[in-house]
Symmetry: C2
Subunit: 717 residues, 2 copies
């Protein structure tokens, strides 16, 4: 069930019953340790839940020392949350009893639903209907459960092995088993969580509801997601965009999308029954929603740490302090490759460094305090860069030499960091190694200083953080509404049958939406064609219009560069004669006379309809090489002003349009304009299933662009 | 000093004295713990060195309980190896005394040489000269030292904090401080080393000498390097190629090259005085030498583990066994993206899986044994895939559910692995998490099963291993020697002044080396030009040849597509008239009449001379887009048959030449031919500093190619 805009308070109430219940009934508990129905009940108790837990276990007197009930209806007190661990087949009945008991929220751990095939899907639809009818909120089925680390709640309604530490990071996952790995992994890194949610099959509550809930959760400052399918695509974009950019406390969202490759998507489908959207559409959605896309857990948590514990730095200028040349070089390489910049120190900084460090030290960035450095040199170098206004971010690297006083240096780093807490500069550390450096790493982590085993991981995270900052600072951008003759286009688009529009109809639709077209006339005779050419002006192109002729050039159905009325007449006669050898008179719609388009760069604009996200606009450069490089950008309709610009700048070969080798730059404004008109047209007419403007010929800056060819395919949904 | 081919035994003897000494003098030891001169001596003792160590410390009676000597000459016994920890300024004198003492090898830990500027460089040159004169081998200066874990040696002549475990991996590093991080890092992963060498400034022994030594070292099966500059570039290629491909026991070499970016290279230069070769040349060198290039320590050790402990798998077909859907999806995505393939199971395998696993399990690849799986399911799934002949590599993933019996599963994995040891299939595991999974990981590591925290890292490593296997299986390829008129080319190339050759001379050089040229004549009059055109055949191009005219088209110095003798005459007259407005008669070398080249795809071939590696061949597609994509390949001269092919296939847009969108494929044989001729020409004439064939016009398959334009710049070295 999708959230309805008219019931926000209800929805929050429902989710509050899930995350902050006062009393919980666990339905289907057993006495066998090492099984889900048992462990989940024990987990609730051992996490020191700050309310009451009731085991429901037919024909059992007690479970783990707690009095058990045959049915949920037997519980003498009110219950806020039901956790179902019964076998899938029994869940429907159990849920109905929960309704009867007045329970408003449930977490269904049980498997055996959509993921096992048609019978399971039916079962899932039935519990969905029950929840919908009775205003009950559901997490699951087929999930690991839910965790809330708030001290006055302490809820571990999951079969994870341990309760995580409290922290500012919320994690949602569509894979239950991944959750357990993430919990263990995070524990090793000293990372805590605010909320931890296994989404399961998302019969009711999905990522959009949870994002809305977490947006106002005071414990959460960063949201992480592992998704395999995205439900409510459009809403996801809107909600994520709002959370990541707006309000007093915008929160970054990081996501991994499983099923990037066809084989991965097939695997995803087999285990959650998920239908994957195209991966390129996914990328577009994440870009437009401000979601930071990650490809591995390492990348996600590396970035999340920096976002959760450090200020958003002002810019890309990084200072590196290291006691080892090689790692300094490797960090520099990684920083530059990822788009950070090495800060150029103020002269005052250089003076301070010169004074404090030995002669053999490198006082340029990266600062090498040399292998035998102890805490004093680290302090001096850090103080210098933290006071330098050219520095936005600081990376401190340590390698364990025999004389390196690791824990003292770690403490010194924490002190300097504390003293410069108001500087707005972010700090990350890399104490390289494993055993010797471990005590130092622990000191850093306890002080909230993100630590990375490899300096490269720190620079990766720093880059993602800067990209998030740029997203925050992005100016508000609106969707431009062009004046368009919608009715005129509708007369064609609403009435044509499914399939391709004729060339002339397609051109007329573009005309109605103000696309840059050259003058054209559909003619039926040589004289008419010559007269038309006189009107449009020379040179002209003559083109056959005939649905049966697909490859016009091969069929001699196109003649270019006609310079006079006479030439047009002769061309008409010869073209007609030739095509009539293969098609009959009645197949020919007419002969199109069109002014020649001046030369320019060829680009391609397209529309596709995605089952989940609706219309998607595509943009790329024309030509063979571009096909070889697959260099195209996608965005979901509607696209705003800045997004149109992004689509052009997002091409790897966008420099071709910006003027390469001293060439005149192309009229990118004209391309942006066409992209936005295309978006408006698609938004107005859902029947458009596919559309290509191929090519749009773009002239030098200020001289506009012209549509050279267009295809529109309609398909009623 | 570079290794001389006529003294191989001497060189090995010298390095044996470094790695397997019976007695060591440490010069410059002090009594202050926490300083290099003290710690290094203590390290030697505490590593249980299987020989004698003598401290040399003027005016000290004893160091760490061991009798000390004022001078090395005072030591009453013979000494194999000197370890110098004196301040840099004293090293020269100390080294001379070592010579006097008859010591044949030294490790100079001391800093204060090339890395500190001109004075240090002089100092380094002096110790280099001493070593060279007396046939002494030197490691360093400015290094961390040397480690050999062989049980009958146990040498830790370094200031690392601890002796690493013994293992099959050798590590060389140009950054000393990186070594300590690597040692600690590897310890955390349970990785041992055979030899561990900090190269320092490489005054004498460099990576080439060490590779030669390690090639025959029975303890070493994989070699890792961190380099910032490469000395003896050509030798590196030859030696690495031999080690990685030839003999009874080829050994893979993995390397990180620090200083990939200009900022990184600058940082490298400031700390070791290294001069970095261009990064793209570096890539070419690694490709041609069979060295696996890594960009981080994680990547390097991940791959090294698989190479050291598992058999080289037959192919790219991977089977994944997991108890968690999400990680299975993520591993599949990563595997496919990196070029592995999911194995399609034999029907027998599917039957076995169906029988052994519960109904909810996914018996397709990736096999999901489901979250509540215990060891029995892992055993069944592993047995099934290990006996399936469609499977080359196996990846086992585990997430710690509350009922997951982690150590039992780890033991079961080890058992199955042992039983199928002869299968030739490689196994990698990913027990995801940190704390809960730690005991399981330890069991795997002790059994020599590579473990990765993230499944993606396993697939990365599997991909690198497969690439190494392909390198091993690569057919031997020779450098083709084309019949060429070398003397004719030499008459031009040996006698022309530094700078650009004239167009006609450049064409004649190409002619002498058999490049595909269209017929051309240099003419001086309209009649001569017309006669020349009659000889070459029509249509022709007329081009001015005049060193003062750079942009021929702008100066109307090129007229295309002349169809008759008359047209040639008229063109000649008008061109001459026009150019004489800006240059004088005597500036004009003549007028080139050249047959028009039929149309085709434009490609660019080039030569550059790298200070370290000599001539480098460059190949790319022509046109603006390709410039935007920077899609070019490089290889060091001479290039063999397969390498020429690699240069073409290595382009991201090579599909353009192979026939895209149903186009005819281009004549790639003609391109390969031109690349190999170019390589031969460059090898024959070191004076060629730069050369471009831009463009070479390539016709459809079987129809050859033609040089349209060429530039050659000479520069005597």
């Amino acid at each position: 069930m999708s959230p309805q805009p008219d019931e926000p308070s209800d929805r929050h109430d429902g989710l509050d019953a899930i995350f902050r219940p006062k009393s919980i009934a666990v339905l289907g508990v057993t006495n066998t340790p090492g099984t889900v129905p048992h462990d989940i009940f024990v987990n609730l108790l051992s996490a020191r839940f700050q309310g009451v837990v009731y085991p429901v276990a037919p024909r059992k007197r007690h479970i783990a020392g707690v009095r058990a009930y045959d049915y949920v209806l037997d519980i003498p007190d009110p219950v806020d949350l039901a956790v179902l661990v019964f076998p899938g087949a029994v869940c429907e009945q159990a849920l109905l009893q929960c309704v009867q008991k007045g329970i408003r929220a449930a977490v269904i751990i049980s498997a055996g639903f959509r993921e096992v095939g048609p019978q399971g899907l039916e079962r899932e639809n039935r519990i969905k209907a029950i929840a919908h009818e009775h205003g009950m909120r559901l997490i699951g089925p087929n999930c690991l459960g839910v965790i809330n680390t708030e001290p006055d709640v302490l809820l571990n309604a999951s079969f994870a092995r341990a309760m995580p530490a409290a922290g500012q990071i919320a994690f949602l996952s569509q894979s239950g088993a991944l959750c357990t790995a993430v919990l263990d992994y995070a524990q090793g890194k000293g990372i805590g969580f605010s909320k931890f949610i296994s989404l399961g099959n998302k019969a009711d509550v999905g990522e959009v509801d949870l994002l809305e809930y977490l947006a106002t959760d005071p414990q959460t400052s960063v949201i992480l997601m592992y998704l395999e399918e995205m439900t409510h695509g459009r809403q996801l974009i809107e909600v994520a965009r709002r959370i990541t950019r707006e309000g007093d406390r915008p929160k970054p969202i990081l996501a991994i999308k499983g099923g990037r490759t066809p084989a991965g998507a097939a695997a995803a489908q087999s285990h959650t029954g998920a239908l994957a959207a195209s991966d390129r559409v996914c990328n577009a959605v994440f870009e437009q929603a401000g979601i930071i896309r990650c490809t591995s857990l390492e990348e996600m948590f590396n970035t999340a740490q920096l976002l959760a514990y450090q200020p958003l730095p002002r810019g890309r200028k990084i200072a590196i302090v290291t006691n080892a040349g090689g790692p300094g070089v490797m960090a520099t390489d990684a920083a530059i490759e990822r788009g950070l910049e090495l800060a150029r120190f103020a002269s005052d900084t250089t003076k301070k460094l010169k004074k404090a460090l030995p002669a053999a030290a490198n006082i340029k960035n990266p600062i090498d305090v040399i292998g035998d450095a102890r805490d004093d040199r680290y302090i001096a170098a850090m103080e210098a860069v933290f006071t330098d206004k050219n520095v936005d971010q600081v990376l401190v690297i340590l390698t364990p030499q025999s004389m390196t006083n690791i824990t003292q240096i770690a403490n010194a780093v924490c002190n300097v960091h504390k003293r410069f807490a108001g500087s707005g500069k972010s700090l990350a550390c890399s104490f390289m190694g494993a055993r010797d450096v471990a005590p130092g790493i622990q000191i850093l982590q306890q002080a909230g200083i993100p630590h990375y085993i490899l300096p490269e991981w720190a620079t990766d995270a720093m880059t993602s953080v800067i990209r998030y900052r740029e997203w925050l600072q992005r100016k508000p951008s609106t969707v431009k509404q062009y004046p368009a003759r919608k009715a005129e286009a509708g007369a064609i688009l609403d009435n044509a049958p499914d399939g391709y529009l004729t060339e002339v109809d397609a051109l007329r639709v573009l005309q109605a939406y103000g696309f840059p077209l050259v003058d054209f006339r559909l003619t039926q005779s040589a004289d008419e064609a010559a007269a038309a050419a006189d009107e449009t002006g020379y040179p002209v192109v003559l083109r056959i219009v005939c649905p049966k002729i697909i490859h016009k050039f091969d069929a001699r159905g196109v003649i270019l560069n006609l310079q006079s009325a006479d030439e047009v007449r002769r061309a008409f006669v010869s073209m007609r004669e030739h095509v009539l050898k293969t098609v009959s008179e009645s197949d020919i719609t007419g002969f199109l006379v069109r002014k020649m388009i001046p030369s320019g760069k060829e680009v391609i604009l397209g529309i596709n309809r995605d089952p989940l996200f609706g219309h998607v606009v595509m943009f790329g450069l024309g030509g063979l090489y571009v096909e070889a490089f697959k260099d195209v950008t996608f965005r979901v309709v509607p696209i705003d002003e800045l997004t149109a610009k992004d689509m052009i700048d997002g091409l790897r070969a966008s420099s071709v349009l910006r003027g390469l080798r001293g060439e005149e730059p192309s009229d990118v404004n004209a391309i942006e304009d066409a992209l936005k008109r295309l978006s408006q047209l698609a938004a107005d007419f859902p029947r458009i299933a596919e559309m290509d403007i191929n090519p749009l010929i773009v002239h030098p800056s200020g001289q506009g662009a012209h549509v050279a060819d267009v295809r529109i395919r309609l398909q009623t949904q």
